[in-house]
Amino acid sequence: MVRLSIFAALLASVTATAQAADAPAEIKLGTLYASAGRYASISLPVHYGLKLWIDQQNAEGGVYVKAFDKKIPLKLIAYDDQSNTATAATLYNQLITQDKVDILISDSGSVLTSVAVPIARDHKMFLFDQTGTGATFFTPDNPYIALMADPVSSIWPKPLADFLTHDGPGLGIKRVAILYATNDFTGTQAAAVRKFIKESNSGVEIVYDQGVPTETSNYTVLLNNIRASNPDAVVHLGYAANDIAFLRNVQDSGIKFKFLFCIYPGTENELLEKNLGNGPLNYVFTYVTSSQMSYQTNFGMPLKEFREAWDKKYGDAKVEFGFNSVAGYTTALVLEKTLATATSLDQLELRKAVFAQSGNLKTLDGTFELDPTGAQIGESTPLGQLVLDGDHLKLVTIWPHELANGKPIYPRP
């Protein structure tokens, strides 16, 4: 009996040492960020969110890796692509072939992710796509990708379109104007809005539909044209700089649209408030992103705690807290769960572990849910409206009704 248990103990310690001997000294995470250029304002917050988690984990000895049944420290290898896709491609390649990272994480946004998709696929590395929502990334013949923190852009605007087509007619919304910047992100959102409105057969018609270059910074004449088409609702889909210029031009021209929607007042509301003040943002409809909404979580820090951790660590840095900070942290949480589930560090094993979280993982970003091609169909962002309450702006959730905590103010006074 005793001999058996000693034998068992010996066997256990031998296998444990053998496993421990196989375990790497550190888990290498490879990623890119943009410190300058067009996408810096959406890239740095994501990067910082990821880094917050890494530092937290390393302070506790590392992340738990089931494959070796122990905590292993994380090493972050991150390069700056300066919003340049050619540089990004070289750097992704460098991460895979030179630095030989264990985990590949993309930069933020569809443009900087797009070059990673074929590279990851070619080298058979699973790509943790943070916020690249371009629908073309997710195809049945590519298993090496999954979208972490944003709904895929072909379904992201559904709450907006649903509100316009279900509640809209009742409020008197029949004519919709769409102005969008022509790039992968907002272009596909515009296409999705168009599609949902046309398929809804609700009587809502699109009276103005124009795409402008993403570099556009002057909307004065465009605004006049939109006004001439007499819309009941105006939807503007652009990046943060476009939203800032657009909203400022609206205010400067003295135009008051009955319903105005922009993406970034919700996604990067601190950046926009800093640049615009409260006036132009009052009564604007936008997405209620996870940085504005406290979801029930079953894993990781909820919003309030994350915000406190962020402020403590990055309070004086030049990076704004917004949805993108949450996105980086969400990627990290999926990563943590993946490493705690996967039986090895083989890339397809990692994929299995990632997909195993689908439907089960509830983070501060919402419910993580993937479709078979890796596109995120959970984590949807409700429609909300910014209303001035005293001297600060409150975000009231309007749609879907189950989550709503207020009624829309339409038309704006």
Binding site: T85, Q98, S114, T182, N183, G187
Partner: protein, 305 residues
Amino acid sequence: MPRFVRHLLITLVPVVVVFAILPSVYSNHLLLFNFIICMTLAQGLNVIYGFTGYLPFGYVGFFGAGAYGFSLTVMHLQAPPLAALAVAAAAAVVLALILTPLFRLSGAYFSIANLAAALALLQVVSNPNLEEITKGPYGISLSVFDPTLSYAAALAILAATIALVIYLRNSHFGMALKAIREDPISAGMAGINVVRERIIAWLLSALIAGLAGGVFAWYVSVFYPETVFSVEFTIFAIVFVLFGGSATVTGPILGAVILYGIYNAVGISTPQYFQLIYGALIMGLVMFLPNGIVSLLQRWGIDVP
């Protein structure tokens, strides 16, 4: 041994051999590929700037035209890559032909007009109304992906380009071009057909950039319009040529290898400082060493190819 054979052995052979062997020892092939593209573009710019004195600040326009020529042929005609490369070259040459009236302008006017033309082409290509043809601002994603073959093609293009510059350096045609650069009127009086020679150099320069663009599209297979029309390519080409020394064979090669190497070593970690360094480097070069490093060597009496 004839001078040009010597030049061939000193410059062309080592470069080609080194870049043919490197992929087997250094696995970031994309970086090596980028080096090849940089050297090719620098030599292409050398042909027009070094030998005729015109500086096309929109040189990347030919690169982009080549990339899109290649992509459109592959996407719409399902052509094999090598045929598409020929189309890429043709596209760049056609663009250059269209722009030949710009030669009526001098110096800075030519450069700016050329830049405007390249930017105009970018706007046309990335316009969403042309999405059916060029995929507009949403970028191109090609199905032909063959890193080995496209790398070999790039290396072949580089070899041909260097050979061309060696020829220019050692031939009457090259001398004629340099004469035109120094003093077009006297050159004309000496019997040189100024307009024709200049246009030939211009077309050759565009051809090089077009081929480089085509093979770039082949290698990376996913790109946005801004990527292949990025003014960065022109800047790099200009700086490499200036730094190394124009109208020589080794100048642009040296410039590309040293500066692009520094860019990848330093720039990756601190890109803002890198822009500062490059800018300061340009200013310093123009003020103190406008003829590049090679001129230093020449001052010491070494005959550099």
